[in-house]
């Protein structure tokens, strides 16, 4: 009998699902080797089908997306119970991802913005989502929306991590094949090369020994030279702090790395390391000039923690207003 696998999505955009579909004909080799027992985006199996499985009956579950709602948590816990191996698939499951930037706000602020303030909202009655609503036909329920976005391994035990937004096809194939052949590395491993992206960047030869800049530029402000190291051009490229494995795809498109492959294994807090790497570019020893150049970086949290705020040491923004003596 072929091993059973499941794919599931939590707080994500669907890009990880797309990455699986993008395997193209290779997916046939996967289907050849395994039975897909659950994949809501593509196949008509229901939660009850998963519940009907014996514990551990799934060889592996590939779960993408961060955890924001009670439904996602329940599904993650259910799949954990039913699976021998759980792979956190993509940046959101591993580190929190872009949805994790919501940890800059409280749930109240998010609801206020989304259901009242946003210019595109027409909500004169001020309707807000409720977990339970009584209607003539009975009681309707919605999943709870948690205060914070969590990574998958902050909710369930995770065996492996596939990085990327979304994970590159060759890494997905390698992971699935390793799983089928029983050649997985030790538990907790990130299934990608453990070196910085610069090492596989086609522009490595043009990277100065010590890149120094007198100002930072954002991608929309310049047309970058397509051959030259982006750091040397004053663009915030996070390649030095980011794990390799994507083949420098964004740089191939003349765009700087934004760090979706996450940190290498020696790093505890990705954003802190990304911040260090970019700080080292500042070409000044004058304190005022250093402060001015640092000030050119718009949205430092969104830049350095774009994919990893929930996994960071601070996990989320500090709830200042609620602290006695807070300054806001």
């Amino acid at each position: 009998m072929k091993p059973k696998v499941a794919f599931y999505w939590c707080a994500s955009c669907g890009g990880c699902e797309e990455a699986v579909v993008d395997l193209g004909e290779d997916i046939l080799a996967v289907v050849e080797a395994v039975d897909i027992a659950f994949w809501p985006v593509a196949l008509d199996f229901k939660r009850a089908d998963v519940e009907a499985l014996a514990d551990g009956e799934l060889a592996a579950s590939f779960i993408n997306g961060a955890i924001r709602t009670s439904e996602q948590q329940e599904m993650a816990e259910l799949l954990r119970r039913k699976s021998g191996t759980v792979v956190a698939f993509g940046s959101c499951a591993w580190l929190g991802g872009v949805p994790g930037l919501a940890n800059l706000y409280s749930r109240e602020e998010i609801f206020e913005r989304v259901y009242r303030e946003a210019p595109s909202v027409a909500n004169d009655e001020g309707t807000m989502p409720e977990e339970e609503t009584d209607v003539p036909q009975g009681r309707l329920t919605l999943p709870a929306f948690f205060d914070s976005v969590r990574t998958l391994d902050q909710v369930i035990d995770v065996d492996y991590y596939l990085p990327g937004c979304p994970p590159p096809g060759h890494l997905i194939r390698a992971a699935v094949m390793a799983l089928i052949e029983g050649k997985l590395p030790e538990k907790g491993a990130v299934l990608a090369p453990d070196v910085a992206l610069c090492s596989e960047c086609p522009r490595l030869a043009t990277k100065p020994e010590k890149p120094l800049v007198k100002g930072f530029k954002r991608p929309h402000e310049v047309v970058a030279d397509p051959e030259l190291c982006l750091l040397a051009q004053g663009l915030i490229c996070l390649g030095p702090a980011t794990r390799a494995g994507c083949g420098a795809a964004c740089i191939g498109g003349n765009m700087p790395c934004t760090g979706c492959m996450g940190p290498t294994s020696r790093v505890v807090d990705y954003g802190a390391k990304a911040l260090s790497a970019i700080a080292s570019l500042i070409d000044s020893t004058d304190e005022e000039e250093i402060a001015a150049l640092a000030g050119e970086i718009v949205d430092p949290v969104g830049t350095f923690y774009r994919y990893s705020l929930p996994a960071s040491l601070l996990h989320r923004r500090v709830a200042l207003a609620r602290q006695g003596g807070g300054s806001e």
């Binding site: 205060d147 914070s148 802190a272 911040l275 700080a279 040491l313 989320r316 500090v318 003596g325």
Partner: protein, 162 residues
């Protein structure tokens, strides 16, 4: 707001990263000279302020520091020529990042203190202790783990508001 008076008066915990060549020597001088200053500062001695990885600062906050002080040699005096400039560059970016993450600016401070400035160690440690004391404890929401419950922030806030 501040009706939830804690029984024990709040004593700030400040972690200080001092370079061995200047600021740590200055702290030594302050001690030898019998200068009194706030005992709230726990000094970690490093070879250079340039060794202060922003991860150290974040880890200090995560593990209970209410403030972090970094001390290094004055510009031009770094034993390694450039280390204190590296510290300054990282400090500026880290400060901006922490601001957006809701950590008050006064909780992170960088000071140049030469080996002769024992009195500056005394003044800076006292000042920072008082500033952080006024801010109150830094209450980070716990990092969740499997089984830790869903809404740590809400619990924290609810617990405080009562």
């Amino acid at each position: 707001m501040s009706e939830a008076v804690v029984e024990q008066p709040f004593e700030p915990r400040i972690v200080a990263f001092f370079c061995t060549w200047c600021t740590y020597t200055a702290a030594d001088l302050a001690g030898i000279s019998r200068m009194e200053y706030a005992p709230n500062v726990r000094v970690v001695r490093l070879m250079c302020s340039g060794r202060v990885d922003p991860q150290f600062v974040l880890a200090a906050f995560r593990h209970g520091a209410d403030g972090v002080l970094i001390g290094g040699c004055h510009p031009g005096d770094c034993h390694y020529q450039q280390g204190n400039f590296s510290a300054r560059r990282r400090f500026e970016l880290l400060r901006a990042t922490l601001r957006d993450l809701g950590i008050e600016e006064e909780r992170l401070r960088l000071e140049w203190i030469s080996a002769a400035e024992g009195d500056k160690v005394q003044r800076v440690c006292n000042e920072m202790t008082e500033q952080v004391r006024r801010l109150g404890p830094l209450r980070l929401s716990p990092v969740p783990h499997p089984g830790s419950g869903a809404s740590p922030v809400e619990e924290l806030v609810a617990g405080e508001a009562r």
